[in-house]
Amino acid sequence: MVRYETVIGLEVHVELKTETKIFCPSSTVFGGGPNTHVCPVCLGLPGVLPVMNKKVLEYAVRVSLALNCKIAEYSKFDRKNYYYPDLPKNYQISQYDLPLAEHGHLDIHVDGRVKRVGITRVHMEEDAGKLVHQGTIATTPYSLVDYNRTGVPLVEIVSDPELRSPEEARAYLEKLLAIIQYTGVSDCKMEEGSLRCDANVSVRPEGGAELGTKTEIKNMNSFKALQRALRYEAERQIRVLEEGGRIVQETRTWDEARGVTLSMRSKEQAHDYRYLPDPDLAPMVIHKSWVDEIKASLPELPDRRRDRYIRDLGISGYDASVITSTREMADYFEECLASHPNAKAVANWIMGDLSRLLNAENMEISRCRISPPQLAAMLRLIDGGTISGKIAKVVFEEMFSSGKDPEVIVREKGLVQITDEGAISAAVERALAENPKVVQDFRDGKDKALGFLVGQVMRLTRGKANPEMVNRLIRDRIKSEDEG
């Protein structure tokens, strides 16, 4: 039986968060009433001309450098001609044969090994508008057009066809998103459409040299959708081949609800985009000194940060990967360390309780009400014995919902740990007296019994007793009884 190998290349569109559009002064802010962020230029009215927003070039160079690309010294814009109602000029200003950047790469971590994935090219282009249908596109009696998004700057990042599984594709997209977020030029929000991904998929007998016929998959709106769609499409292609069929080169759309890819148009129906250099825009000459300036201003990127955390802070590779997966989280982590240098403890709290609470509220860490100094302060309270680890969880939840300082919460709620031996002893006495059978179990060597007794003491002290002291006092008390 033939074993098949899946070959995937991704084309990712990322909106750059400049204040104004790529070729006109209209705002790029997401949302707003329909057709409120528009001007004659982005509406493509007769007689208007595009003027390049230099910030877009700077941001695109930033992304390209972060992806280890070679920046072109000479680049130009071309017109991609096709008719669609969301495209007011019926051509998109894009880049064809002289893209801004080429020959880059990024590294992904899959199954404990590192794989380098090539980036074919990065180019700039303008976004199209949005069609609003009444119901589905197939049955709508008419559609409305919102041009707010028209002319929002995009970079398109094309990978080499080097991804070999849906998992690698997902890891690539996650890494790409992290890197771009680090550079600060895009929000990369898939749900708002500021990051969009298409995939070219083919299969071939394992180890084959030639690529199989590919299909292009569109409309994958989440990481999960990407993975599911690619899995489905690879399996579909293998099935077709095993049944003796041939793969048709075509564009297919992912139907999330049905979990299948559906044919949109075949190669015969494919557009001839009739690219031509845009005569309204002068070619760009990009000076090396300017590129070097941008390079110098790049932040430490996720891989470098991850390696530094493993090397200098001694946290695990897994922890370091999670912490550095977004720049916000890594920055938060480092700000915590500035006032509480126990990396392992800080990492545990961020990856554990904090992530859980953020996920439950679908909140980003940048909007978290617990500031890094507050988290550090709480860790100091634990280390200093003021609160137990268990109480800390209660304090932490309160901090998360109210934003109050941990010291204030501990004081207001009377959560200070009981370290007075007399007070704990009294509770121990009572717990032992109430549970003679368990005490006997302990004497018989059942270790679980100790845990139960500790729990009882904690209950009696409403969780505030120092757990280590409780442990010690129970053992001492039973031991002294035995000896006495």
């Binding site: 004659p40 007689g47 390049m52 002068a282």
Partner: protein, 485 residues
């Protein structure tokens, strides 16, 4: 002299001396338009109310004792492919018959800002595609020297408006000769500036890398003044040249002794009407008598200019005109089944035959598999043509040729033979491909019809063109003769 044939300079003096007001001038021109408009077909929209308001503002300025800008109060006609805020801008196309732009072209802002009085929007070949103004999608224009003849095109309405005293000056656009050729056929002055000298912002694009806005006038001095008004860098046009512009009026009244003039033999030989050739030979004698040194020269790649032009211009046009789809403005077929049907019906009915022909030509030239053979090859030819001019200008200050191979031809004569029509731009097209400036000045008559002489110069050498044109005009009286209509 009748008011409507006076120069801008004379009118300005009369306004300053309070012999006449801007309002009176404006009313006189509106009356003239009223009288001639039907006969000439020069205007698509007459903007009488706006004109009177603008003239009133100039009169207030004069009354307050302020010094007025050189062209203040001067009636100007504007080709209907220049966007005017609140005033419909049709490009003489059914597609844009009811299109009212929400903004004005930079050149409109500049002339209005200098107090010029806009009397109307002029007729043209649809989307500036044509050489006779017969392609107007609205109604035809007649040559004032003989109404059975075409006025040339595509800026036929602007040329006729100036030639008949319905405006003192006009704005046109020139992609392959569309200012110079109608100026020649109607007996007025018309200039295509260097590409990038004048902003294209608000000029409805035909072929972006060739289009340029320029002036038409009845004399060289008025032409220079108009050029001064419209030239300048514009941050809204990336192809606009940076830096300050010359003061073009200082180039007037200078002699041309020792100036080197080349006459490309390709523009004087086959295909040039003998009557036209003999007028130009006469004009060269005048220039010679003024002290210029005249020599024959060659632009060897000239024969490829027309084919290269019709690949580059149509390729750009096929993309530029894609936006007229009936979605958010312009003509929309109301009986469409779906969006594709709407595109097809709207564009089939909204565009005229010549526009559709050029869109198809350009679409073909850019299609997969043909790009290298047609479009790319044409770009290479364009480079060769530019090099021809560069070489010529190493030796000569200006080049001189007929503006058009013939005088005005009969309406309908070339309508069914597009190639013959395209060849009427044979001497003007290279100038657009090379991006250099060219001016057409009245050089005499052949068979009672005006003949224009084209003077071509180095990039941004408009001053020298105006100097030669003015010296010639001072020694001749061709420009004084006006059609009887």
């Amino acid at each position: 002299m009748e008011l409507h044939y006076m120069s801008a300079g004379e009118m300005r003096r009369m306004m300053e001396d309070r012999e006449i007001s801007a309002g009176e001038i404006c009313r006189a021109f509106l009356d003239r338009i009223e009288k001639l408009d039907k006969k000439t077909g020069a205007f698509i929209t007459v903007t009488g109310e706006l004109a009177l308001n603008q003239a009133g503002a100039v009169d207030k300025l004069i009354a307050s004792g302020e010094k007025i800008p050189p062209l203040a109060g001067i009636p100007v006609a504007v080709k209907d492919n220049l966007c005017t805020e609140g005033i419909r801008t049709t490009c003489a196309s059914k597609m844009l018959r009811n299109f009212i732009p929400p903004y004005s072209a930079t050149v409109i802002e500049r002339i209005v800002g200098r107090g010029m009085v806009m009397v109307g929007k002029t007729n043209m070949d649809e989307f500036a595609m044509g050489s006779s103004t017969e392609n107007s999608g609205l109604f035809p224009v007649s040559n004032p020297w003989d109404t059975d003849l075409v006025p040339g095109g595509s800026s036929g309405g602007s040329a006729v408006a100036v030639a008949t005293g319905q405006a003192v000056t006009a704005l046109g656009s020139d992609t392959g000769g569309s200012i110079r050729q109608p100026a020649s056929l109607c007996g007025v002055v018309g200039m295509k500036p260097t590409y990038g000298l004048v902003s294209r912002y608000g000029l409805v694009a035909y072929a972006s890398s060739l289009d340029q806005v320029g002036p038409l006038a009845r004399n060289v001095a008025d032409c220079a003044e108009m050029l001064k008004a419209i030239a300048g860098h514009d941050h809204r046009d990336s192809t606009s040249a940076p830096g300050e512009r010359d003061d073009y009026s200082v180039f007037l009244n200078r002699d041309i002794k020792g100036l080197k003039i080349g006459v490309p033999r390709e523009y004087m030989g086959e295909g040039i009407d003998p009557g036209v050739r003999s007028v130009i030979e006469g004009a060269l004698k005048v220039l010679d008598s003024l002290g210029a040194e005249i020599e024959e020269t060659s632009l060897p790649h000239s024969r490829y200019a027309v084919p290269a032009y019709y690949l580059i211009a149509t390729a750009e046009a096929s993309s530029n005109l894609a936006r007229y789809d009936g979605v958010s403005y312009g003509y929309r077929a109301d009986d469409a089944e779906d969006v594709v049907d709407m595109y097809m019906k709207s564009r089939s009915r909204g565009f005229g035959a010549e526009v559709k022909r050029r869109i198809m030509l350009g679409t073909y030239a850019l299609s997969a598999g043909y790009y290298d053979a047609y479009y790319l090859k044409a770009l290479k030819v364009r480079t060769l043509i530019k090099q021809d001019f560069d070489r010529a200008f190493e030796k000569y200050d200006v080049l001189v040729s007929p503006t058009s191979p013939s005088t005005a031809f009969r309406k309908g004569e070339k309508v069914d033979d597009p190639l013959q029509m395209y060849l009427s731009d044979i001497t003007t097209i290279s100038v657009n491909l090379a991006g250099i400036p060219g001016i057409s000045v009245p050089a005499g008559f052949s068979g009672g019809l005006p003949v224009g002489m084209q003077i071509m110069g180095r990039p941004f050498g408009e001053g020298t063109l105006l100097r030669v044109a003015h010296a010639f005009e001072m020694s001749t009286d061709h420009h004084v003769k006006m059609p009887e209509i």
